[in-house]
Amino acid sequence: MVVDKPKLLWQLVFEGTWPMAVCFLENGRRLAAGNQAGQIYVWDLPETPPAFEAPKNSDRKAPDLPPVRRLDGHENGITRLLPTPDGKTLVSASLDRTLRVWQPADPASGSAEAIMDIDQRKAKAKRDRKDESLTAPGVKVDTLGSVATLAGHDDWVLSLASDREGKRWISGDMSARVIVWDLAERKEVRRWSGLSWNWILAVAMSADGGTAVVSEARYKRDDFDIPSAALRVYDTGTGQEKLDVLKTMFPKYKPDDTSYGGGQVWRKFVAAGLVAADMSPNGELVALGQGGETDTGKVHLLDVKTGKVVREVSGHQYGVTDVKFSADGKYLLSTGRDTMLRICQVEDGKEVAALGSSRGGQFKDWLSALAISPDQKFVAAADIAGLVHVWSLEG
């Protein structure tokens, strides 16, 4: 990856409910994003954006582009979107308790009208005191269903990761269930559970698919009833635990303690939950982002074998939402509730780019997820304000 004067190329409008997941498909000129209503749209990005002049007093800094496809099937929010390495297959995780597999380039099964700018229309209707903008035509998109549904989770699926070849996948839900999948066979190959009360907030898988890092926590039951979080390294072939990171880090850690004091030794490290995870391409490091609404929002870099913290890289005030290593392992990219996408050097933690602009802090939206194009030239971020931002990393 080369980071040299990144430039904002596109701001794709995706209003209604929040965009929560994004990924590049195929050669990186195709992009998919999913929202909290369970909709997934696909955009084809031209090589060069058109000339664009920002309207006066507008937040808009780059051109929009209508989507070309809608992928229909999920019945509740999309939490993760990941492509296979060839970019031809897309896997989605959802609050509807399923994973779905898509072939976005397959022939369309139908068409529909999509309204991508509903928030702007509502604002206009309110401003003009006329409803015409609400009923104006939208854009025509092709529609397509999924090619497979992977059922097996009994609760919201929050986390998803795969190996480098896209053969083995791992997902985790809010009933503490972790499932390892064989994507080609469309079948479950292993499952295990974390601490019964926890939610699987994030998973990361090594390039060879043999190791997974699983982050668990849950929101408190009460101010005086806060169950323990967990962070473990697993052998995905056997489902056996290889390392209990919190136990290594905090000798007094006892998962059964649920109250303050001794039961909270993990709290400062985990904060409101390590909600984002990614393993470095060489499998030596795992990056873990503190999420929820937290002042610190740190990203920890851990040695996967020892569980020791190597360093803290960047961070997002008010909480991290996503983390990803560049393909060469030199950079760590992260998004957060500070409406920023940050790029840091892994070797020394130095921040080399901060994309986006803070909208004023705690009460001004989040960037909810990020994606890196296969050629490492573009990054995208889903923005709960109803946008998907796309930057060129090389200006």
């Binding site: 929101y219 408190k220 009460d222 005086f224 009833d225 109250s259 705690q362 939206d365």
Partner: protein, 394 residues
């Protein structure tokens, strides 16, 4: 402090059943969301991420976070048309404990103090008004310190004054000397405050005979599955033990519902243990024959906004929100009132805080129009103009 339950814990159940009404107030501190509990708006822009499930009452759906209460809906009456007048926490907590807005001139008593006065018993070992991780600081209000709550910690610990650190013989000797001096002082000075102090000491001493009622550990192992393995579940079991032992009013609190951020994650964390305990409590009370005379209130101090803010949160809202009642003659399976399709406003049958408390007092066989004097001013239990929602009561 007002003390009212029976001395001998073993022969309680039958005796309790013959006596007056009792009340358990499940207080959702911070304000639980109606949209994530009992008044869902599926498919609407305000609906949020959870999905409704069917309940055991035809046509009534509840949030998927409440599968156990879904099977108890025939026991409870849901009020989906609360419209109250204090939108922030301190005022809301005061309001939903007294029925009145805070004022500078009158310190209104909490519902627990009123139930203690009208349904409590004198000169017994257990207090008449107990809070387990309770909220609201109005206490006895103008009824005086006699009706202050006896407060138990979130983890069920009794206050330090409830046990003597002295040898029993020494403590008794000391008590006799103090009682002799205080009695004489009270006689000679006609001092109400001194008399109160004397009573409080007596009550604290009597409480030592009743410590057994507060010990839930043995019973907890047996009932953990029924109430759910949570601190709130344990508090609810303790509440059941206390009303069974004759305590007329117990508040049980659960905190942290103030979900201005991450509303859905917070409710996914908070509601399941709460609803498990609530359902377990109703089952337990019913099986013991106590539900007919025990009112179970479920409420917070406020509801939450229909719109979802850009922290994934819902803010404070009192124009239209939800509470629930069960037991003590409340018609189970009933949904009273309605909010509009997005939950912004009450569509039918608004219920004010005054109406809510008037209905509660009526269910507890306490006339809500009963007046007490705040100085020289007569103050009814429920505010002037409040109406009993008689449709809720059989």
């Amino acid at each position: 402090m007002n003390w009212g339950a029976l001395t001998h814990l073993d022969a309680l159940a039958d005796e309790v059943k013959k006596r007056g009404k009792r009340c358990i107030y499940l207080f959702m501190n911070g304000g639980a969301s109606q949209f994530e509990t009992l008044d869902m708006k599926p498919g609407r822009p305000t609906g949020g991420l959870f999905r409704p499930i069917a309940s055991n009452v035809a046509g009534t759906q509840v949030c998927e976070l409440m599968p156990k209460m879904a099977r108890q809906m025939d026991q409870i009456a849901v009020i989906r048309s609360m419209r109250t007048s204090e939108v922030d926490h301190p005022g809301g907590i005061y309001l939903m404990h007294t029925g009145y807005r805070p004022t500078a001139n009158v310190r209104f008593p909490e519902i627990g103090a009123i139930v203690a006065k009208y349904q409590g018993r004198e000169a017994t070992d257990l207090p008449n008004f107990i809070k387990i991780f309770g909220h609201g600081g109005a206490g006895g209000g103008f009824l005086g310190p006699k009706y202050l709550p006896f407060e138990i910690s979130p983890e069920g610990q009794l206050p330090t004054f409830s046990a003597s650190s002295m040898e029993p013989a020494r403590e008794l000797k000391r008590h006799e000397v103090r009682a002799f001096l205080e009695d004489r002082y009270v006689r000679e000075r006609q001092s109400e405050v001194a008399a109160m102090h004397r009573e409080s000491y007596e009550a604290a001493r009597r409480l030592q005979n009743a410590h057994q009622a507060f010990k839930v550990d043995q019973e907890w192992e047996k009932h953990k599955a029924l109430y759910g393995d949570s601190a709130f579940g344990k508090r609810c079991l303790l509440a059941r033990r206390l009303v069974e032992a004759g305590v007329p009013f117990v508040e049980v609190g659960q905190s942290s519902y103030d979900s201005h951020a991450d509303n859905f994650a917070w409710h996914k964390g908070l509601v399941p243990p709460m609803e498990h305990a609530w359902a377990g409590l109703l089952t337990d009370l019913k099986e013991r024959g106590l539900l007919d005379d025990t009112l179970v209130i479920w409420a917070g101090e406020i509801g939450r906004t229909p719109q979802i803010n850009n922290r994934a949160g819902r803010d404070h809202y009192v124009r239209s929100w939800t509470t629930a009642l069960a037991g003590c003659g409340v018609k189970g399976g009933m949904v009273y009132g309605a909010s509009d399709e997005d939950g912004y406003d009450v569509k039918d049958n608004p219920v004010t805080e005054g109406d809510f408390f008037a209905t509660i007092y009526q269910a507890l066989s306490i006339d809500p129009k009963t007046e007490n004097l705040a100085g020289v001013r007569p103050v009814p239990l429920a505010p002037f103009g409040s109406k009993v929602v008689s449709e809720l009561l059989s």
